[in-house]
């Protein structure tokens, strides 16, 4: 948490900018907006995030209440990258965070089936471990035709997301190479 709060900072900025915000109606919309925002985030916990969309890397300030509910996401006015600005995607990032379509359970679709079945995490991970091991054993090459040691699994591919945290991405690389995978890909190429 910073010494100067985001709201004080905004106030300083508003003073510095002089009469910005005085509308044709004769009153200051920025002030009215500020009062509304202050009410909305009053007493909220402030934390820092980064926009999940493009790679400008706009800094976000997120507000949550005591029960952990997300109240608001804004551009971080202190960031040298975006100086508080956001595009339509960044400005609606909250709707992604609380999207109604979230996958709620682990789902499994058997061969030829026309619908999902709900299964437990434990069952899904056991089934997957079995499949990964079988595919690895079936397609693992220790020595290639020319006698070179290659120790690779040819029959499994992994593609990792561009919204992974870096550390998560590194861990994915480590684990997948640990399994012997050679087909490894992410969003950079596509």
């Amino acid at each position: 948490m910073s010494a100067i709060s985001r709201r004080n900072f905004l106030k300083i900025g508003a003073v510095g900018a002089g009469g910005i915000g005085i509308s044709a109606l004769g009153f200051d919309l920025a002030q009215a907006y500020q009062v509304k925002q202050n009410l909305r985030i009053a007493g909220a916990r402030e934390s820092h995030s980064v926009c999940p969309y493009c790679a400008v890397g706009c800094s976000l300030v997120a507000y949550t209440n005591d029960s952990g509910q997300l109240l608001q996401i804004e551009g971080d006015p202190d960031s040298p990258v975006n100086e508080g600005r956001l595009c339509p995607k960044g400005a609606t990032a909250m709707q992604l965070a609380v999207a109604a379509n979230r996958v709620k359970s682990v789902m499994y679709r058997p061969p030829k089936a026309t619908a999902w079945q709900e299964i437990t995490w434990d069952k899904a991970l056991d089934m997957l471990a079995r499949r990964v091991k079988d595919a690895r054993d079936a397609t693992f090459v220790t020595t290639d035709a020319s006698g070179s040691i290659v120790n690779r699994c040819e029959g499994i591919a992994f593609a990792g997301g561009a919204a992974f945290s870096s550390e998560e991405g590194y861990f994915a690389t480590k684990v997948m190479r640990g399994l012997g995978l050679v087909h490894l890909e992410q969003q950079a190429r596509v």
């Binding site: 980064v50 600005r85 120790n151 919204a163 992974f164 640990g178 190429r189």
Partner: protein, 809 residues
């Protein structure tokens, strides 16, 4: 980016190709506008479509998609013919003086060493002429030797006259010459140009060379390493940069170390075949000489006690691919029945394509598919995609609910290489789990199966280090420390990769991030509460303290790889004596004892007056920027080739029209041809993106779906008139591979161009819609149209140039 977003404000001229930053990176675009408004910089936008970027540019050029080599090549030619290049920079800081071996040729569109049967080059004919004793290249600093890189470049681009540029790109000669004049001024030491691009350059069979041609132009003008200069890729997703650095990519290991290749018996072989070799006595070749240290430190990180001097630090635990194993190859292997399972973690194959219908066949050929995502995707639902019959699809599909970015901490690395830490703002929703916890758990279960049953070479699984408080639930902070690395003798985290060793006494999960999380006692940690420097937030509220030079470095905001350096190659921003080329925009400068300014890309105390001082580009064997390079598979100098599907034969060399080395998957596999010709598909198509959507995930965001609710195709006004199509009409767009039946948007943003003596139209296809999201029923996939072929070097699909037909429905 060699530079970073805020640095664009320091530019005098910004060339924007294959990008639309005003719409695709709108907040980053403020720095382009600051350059324009505050320092009178000019913007030039070359794009098939007149966009909001064009609207605020000083010049808009309607260019044919995929012809940017001809455009940049024409500019290189103009600069050289008029002697406008930065002579001192070109002579001292590029490989212009290097002599290429006798026998190198370029004729009828083919470089020497071509093997038509293999569709590949023997690149050894592109090597330098070297001294047999030292291995150093012969040089001629007068640049007059006919086989000097300078003369070869000059000759190569002499063909790219303004008339040829017009005939290839469609840019009228008078407009091209206006840009050429502006660009020519940028060869002055006190003028700086930036080249900005995005996937409009990468998504071509010539993508790597499209970018290289821009880089060659920047070297000729002396703009690499300069504040306000550089080659700046705008990346499209939040953390593509970080995940590329950490090597979720078939061909590399973390920190751009090459994946080992079959035949390499030990680390000596690996380093000999992977690391650059010094070709000049003053070349430091920093990466090359430290390659082994970085690799051993990685192996030690991953395999711990199982990595010893005696077993080459477990070198053979790292898999060695037989050949290309990139995105398109995965689905090619699936089509061949050689791929059993695919795990998609935050990616959707179906929408991405290319050639989505063929990808759907590939997915149907798998035994199992795992989709790890917070939201359903066109891949999790592929088996019930429109036109698919689930009863005929044997693929088992698992959909595992994962957490959103905001439900976990960790860093995102932006296009400018700034590693910014984010907090965990919310708890994971309901039943969802972090992707890396799922992987840790799955790995653990697989390992247990091996322990119970045995199986193929389980040693790497057993050896892989999982030194976390809870190996099933690693904290991202723990992983960040692992990436940074440790001195195993002292137990302290490393402060710089310069101290990594090849004797197994140091670790680094990714050497380019070493120093991001130093030991708290290190000076770099600045006595901060957290030594995780990505958390730093000394921002714009105090510019005098946090940006003392006013150049926008903000060196204590987050952390930038490598070593918090904000501008790569910054030694080249100063002349050979250490004075900035432009004193108003110093990158670094020699103060008599030290290099000061940005974190120097150079030894901090190396006196430039020392005859043994290193050359400025420390990462390659030359020590200089490579105008000519033998490391590309498709030519040492960028050459214009047509897209695989093109309306005209290549005006430069019709007999070798498209890339002679791009890999043709269907042909190689014996599958039917899926490329169309101009006879059936007369129009050029290029795909693009809208401000309101991000790939496909935003189909779940109500406000964004409201703003851009429906798929459409953008059609040039004149073509609309010809085909009697008005905005709002439903049209059918077909390629050899698939179709879309969507609304037409007829605009003057697109227009006819004349190339190869022929009038052609380009149509624009936004990519964002599918059969999954809030507004279902819009099931047309833009990538059903795109070709199953990629860049000769990187295999990046040719999403941005293909042929279609358009008809009114």
């Amino acid at each position: 980016m060699t530079n970073h977003w805020r640095d664009l404000k320091n530019s005098d001229l910004i060339l924007i190709n294959g990008a639309n930053p005003a719409e695709a990176h709108p907040v980053g675009f403020q720095w382009f506008m600051r350059a324009k408004l505050d320092r009178g910089a000019k913007l030039v936008h070359a794009d098939p479509r007149f966009t909001r970027t064009s609207a605020v540019s000083d010049l808009y050029l309607r260019i044919r998609t995929g012809t940017d080599v001809a455009y940049y090549g024409g500019l290189i030619n103009y600069v050289l013919q008029n002697n406008l290049h930065q002579q001192d920079y070109v002579t001292n800081y590029t490989n212009a003086a290097w002599i290429v071996k006798d026998g190198f040729t370029f004729k009828d569109g083919l470089f020497s060493g071509y093997d038509a049967a293999k569709r590949s080059y023997d690149t050894s004919t592109w090597n330098y002429e070297t001294d047999p004793d030292t291995g150093y290249a012969h040089t001629d600093y007068s640049l007059q030797h006919p086989r000097s890189v300078f003369q070869l470049m000059k000759q190569h681009y002499s063909r790219y006259t303004p008339e040829v540029v017009e005939n290839v790109t469609g840019i009228p000669k008078d407009q091209f010459l206006k840009v050429a004049k502006m660009v020519g001024e940028m060869g002055r030491p006190d003028k700086v140009m930036s080249v900005v691009y995005a996937v409009g350059l990468t998504h071509h069979t010539t993508g790597s060379q499209l970018i290289r041609s821009g880089a060659v132009l920047q070297l000729v003008l002396g703009n690499m390493g300069m504040p306000g200069g550089g080659m700046n890729a705008e990346r499209g997703h939040a953390n593509i940069q970080g995940n590329t650095d950490h090597a979720i990519s078939w061909d590399i290991l973390p920190g751009y170390l090459r994946i080992p290749a079959p035949g390499q018996k030990n680390l000596d072989d690996y380093v000999a075949q992977s690391a650059a070799k010094k070709t000049h006595p003053n070349s430091w070749n920093f990466f090359g000489i430290n390659y082994r240290k970085f690799m051993v430190s990685l192996l030690k990180t991953w395999y711990g006690d199982a990595a010893t001097k005696d077993n080459e630090f477990a070198f053979h635990h790292v898999p060695k691919p037989a050949g290309n194993a990139s995105w398109i190859t995965i689905f090619d292997q699936a089509l061949k029945g050689k791929m059993q399972g695919v795990l998609l973690s935050g990616m959707t194959a179906t929408s991405i394509g290319p050639d989505s219908n063929q990808v759907l066949k590939g997915l149907s050929n798998l035994k199992w598919l795992v989709v790890m995502d917070a939201l359903p995707t066109t891949s999790s639902e592929f088996w019930r995609a429109p036109g698919m019959d689930p009863s005929g699809i044997d693929t088992e599909v698992f959909l595992l609910p994962t957490t959103h970015w905001i439900e976990k901490d960790g860093s995102f690395v932006n296009s400018g290489r700034w590693m910014q830490w984010k907090d965990q703002v919310m708890k994971p929703e309901g039943n969802s789990r972090h992707d890396h916890w799922i992987m840790a758990d799955l790995f653990d279960r697989v390992k247990k199966l091996y322990r119970a049953e045995g199986g193929k070479f389980p040693d790497p699984l057993y050896a892989l280090t999982l030194n976390y408080a809870d190996p099933l639930k690693p904290e991202l902070d723990e992983i960040a420390q692992e990436i940074n690395g440790r001195d195993l003798t002292t137990g302290k985290r490393m402060a710089t990769f310069a101290n990594l060793k090849d004797d197994g006494t140091t670790t680094a999960g990714d050497w380019i991030y070493t120093g991001s999380y130093p030991d708290p006692s290190a000076p770099a940690a600045q006595g901060r509460a957290s030594a995780n420097l990505a958390k730093r937030r000394d921002g714009i509220r105090d510019p005098q303290r946090n940006d003392p030079t006013g150049l926008g470095l903000y060196s204590n905001w987050a952390w930038s790889w490598p070593l918090n350096r904000r501008i790569l190659y910054n030694r080249a921003s100063a002349d050979p004596t250490g004075k900035p080329w432009d004193p108003t925009r110093p990158g670094i400068q020699w103060n008599g004892t030290l290099w000061v300014g940005d974190v120097p890309d150079y030894p901090p105390n190396m006196n430039p007056a020392d005859p043994a001082a290193w050359l400025p580009f420390i990462m390659n064997g030359e020590g200089t920027g490579r105008i000519f390079s033998s490391s590309m598979v498709d030519g040492p100098l960028p050459e214009h080739y047509e897209p695989v599907e093109s309306p005209i034969p290549n005006p430069l060399h019709p007999a070798n029209s498209a890339s002679p080395v791009a890999f043709l998957y269907d042909q190689a596999a014996g599958r039917p041809n899926r490329f169309g010709t101009v006879k059936d598909f007369p129009h050029i198509a290029t795909s693009y993106r809208l401000t309101e959507h991000e790939h496909y995930v935003t189909q779940h965001v109500p406000l964004l779906v409201g703003l851009q609710p429906e798929a459409f195709v953008e059609i040039p006004f004149e073509l609309g008139q010809q085909l009697k199509i008005n905005s709002g009409d439903r049209v059918r767009v077909t390629s050899q591979r698939g179709k879309m039946e969507v609304l037409a948007l007829v605009t003057k943003r697109l227009g006819p161009i004349t190339v190869g003596g022929k009038k052609v139209y380009q149509v624009g296809i936004p990519i964002h819609w599918g059969f999954v999201g809030i507004k279902t029923g819009q099931h047309w996939l833009a990538n059903a149209l795109t070709p199953f072929v990629g860049d000769a070097n990187a295999r990046t699909p040719e999403f941005k140039a293909f042929l279609v037909n358009v008809e009114k429905m």
